[in-house]
């Protein structure tokens, strides 16, 4: 089958690639663009490990065909840190022992980013809802919830 061109912005960089029609964004990011931060945990839209942000919306890259992202702006956990300086969400997860095996962490970080971008000081209920599509089998979620709330507290202090 003929390959088709696709272009989008990935973590601030223009990307262009020829892909197979029907390829998922997850596979294109990982196999063709060298960004392995989104993980394939279920390929069913159930675990959230492949979560990325497309045009500001949280999306599952395993269910998204890459060619439907033409012209889109895509953010992944791989592009969140500023050089060696972690994003505040990433730093909070590190500080709060909120990651163990690490497989869910990149997707979890993106789900949290969408939440905090929209609502810098969310309630605990908001946090639970925001990460409800992201499965973590190690932590029991509580350290993750606490890490998000710690970012939220520091956001509200900065606002004051």
């Amino acid at each position: 089958m003929a390959r088709i061109p696709v272009q989008f912005t990935l973590n601030g960089q223009e990307k262009a690639e020829f892909i197979e029609s029907g390829a998922t964004l997850l596979n294109v990011l990982r196999d063709r663009m060298g960004d392995t931060s989104p993980k394939g945990g279920c390929q069913q839209g159930t675990c959230g490990a492949c979560s990325v942000i497309i045009d500001g919306e949280l999306r599952l890259s395993c269910l998204t065909l890459a060619e439907t992202c033409e012209g889109a702006t895509i953010e992944t956990a791989g592009g969140l840190a500023n050089g060696s300086e972690l994003h505040p969400i990433q730093q909070a997860i590190v500080d709060g022992f909120a990651t163990q095996c690490g497989f869910c962490a990149p997707g979890m970080v993106m789900a949290i980013k969408v939440l905090l971008d929209a609502k810098p000081a969310p309630s605990r209920e908001d946090v639970v809802e925001a990460i409800s599509g992201n499965v973590c089998r190690c932590t029991g979620y509580e350290p993750i919830i606490q890490a998000v709330l710690s970012v939220s507290r520091s956001n509200s202090q900065q606002a004051v």
């Binding site: 029609s21 998922t24 919306e57 789900a111 809802e129």
Partner: protein, 267 residues
């Protein structure tokens, strides 16, 4: 071999491309791409339409029309549909709600299809490229109906006045979990509080959403009280054949259905 995506600007063209079988309409991908990823080789290609009408919500004179590509997130965010927001919000996590569509939900097999349970209770109309039908008839014929009528382009229904519509989804995991069962009910009462009309829809009680007609009949003429609904509680399971899956057995679903139905009615 790779699955090609064909994109058309009109629903009619997309419908034509789907005729002949094998290809599947791509909405948000939460059902179709999932099936392909898991190795469903019956799907041989994707077709979609970029017709703007498919993604729009129109509310006019108490009637709502939701394009088939309207997402659960759009329903949650639409003020005029606030009665339905709780149902849409219980579907998937945020990322799934950003892509899962009203049209796709109509075709979901149990234990999925919670929003369709709500639409069935509301007595919605399903609109195709060519014509329309009521949701009861659609659900009975959904495997083949699009061959004749073309793709689903929208659903429409009367927006229920506050308090008329009730919805309950039971999951083992909260806030997001696959349904053990889903119940939606549209209950109309007269000035004295007597039930004048009732439509009850059940999820996970068959391979697709079904009506609980015996319970509907038992409710009409009664009051929304413990004794008033007792007859309906007794027959809520009539005609059901609950699914067995990793979430729950058929036996378990049958056992808890009357319990949850009673709670939904009395809450």
């Amino acid at each position: 071999m790779a699955l090609e995506l064909q994109t058309f600007s009109s629903s009619a063209e997309a419908s034509a491309a789907l005729r002949g079988g094998g290809k599947s309409y791509l909405g948000g991908g939460s059902l179709v791409v999932r099936a392909v990823n898991e190795g469903d080789v019956r799907i041989t290609g994707y077709v979609r339409s970029t017709d703007k009408a498919l993604t729009s919500i129109a509310t006019d004179g108490g009637r709502a029309r939701l394009g088939a590509s309207v997402t659960m997130a759009q329903v949650v965010g639409c003020e005029a549909l606030s009665e339905l927001a709780p149902a849409a919000k219980l579907i998937g996590g945020p990322a799934v709600r950003n892509v899962a569509t009203v049209g796709g939900n109509l075709f979901a097999r149990s234990p999925f299809g919670d929003f369709t349970v709500a639409l069935l209770a509301l007595g919605a109309t399903v609109h195709f490229t060519d014509g329309e039908m009521d949701i009861d008839a659609f659900l009975a014929a959904r495997e083949t109906v699009t061959d004749e009528r073309g793709i689903v382009v929208a659903v429409s229904f009367d927006i229920p006045p506050s308090g008329r519509f009730r919805f309950l989804k039971i999951s083992r995991v909260k806030p997001k979990g696959v349904a053990v069962l889903t119940i939606a009910a549209a209950i109309g009462t007269d000035a004295k509080g007597t039930i004048s009309e009732a439509r009850i829809a059940l999820g996970c009680m068959s391979d697709r959403p079904i009506r609980a007609e015996a319970a509907e009949k038992a409710l009409v003429g009664s009051e929304l009280s413990e004794s008033g609904i007792a007859g309906a509680v007794d027959v809520i399971g009539e005609g059901t054949a609950p699914i067995t899956d990793p979430i729950a057995s058929s036996w378990y679903r049958a056992e808890v259905l009357p319990v949850h139905f009673r709670r939904l009615m009395l809450d």
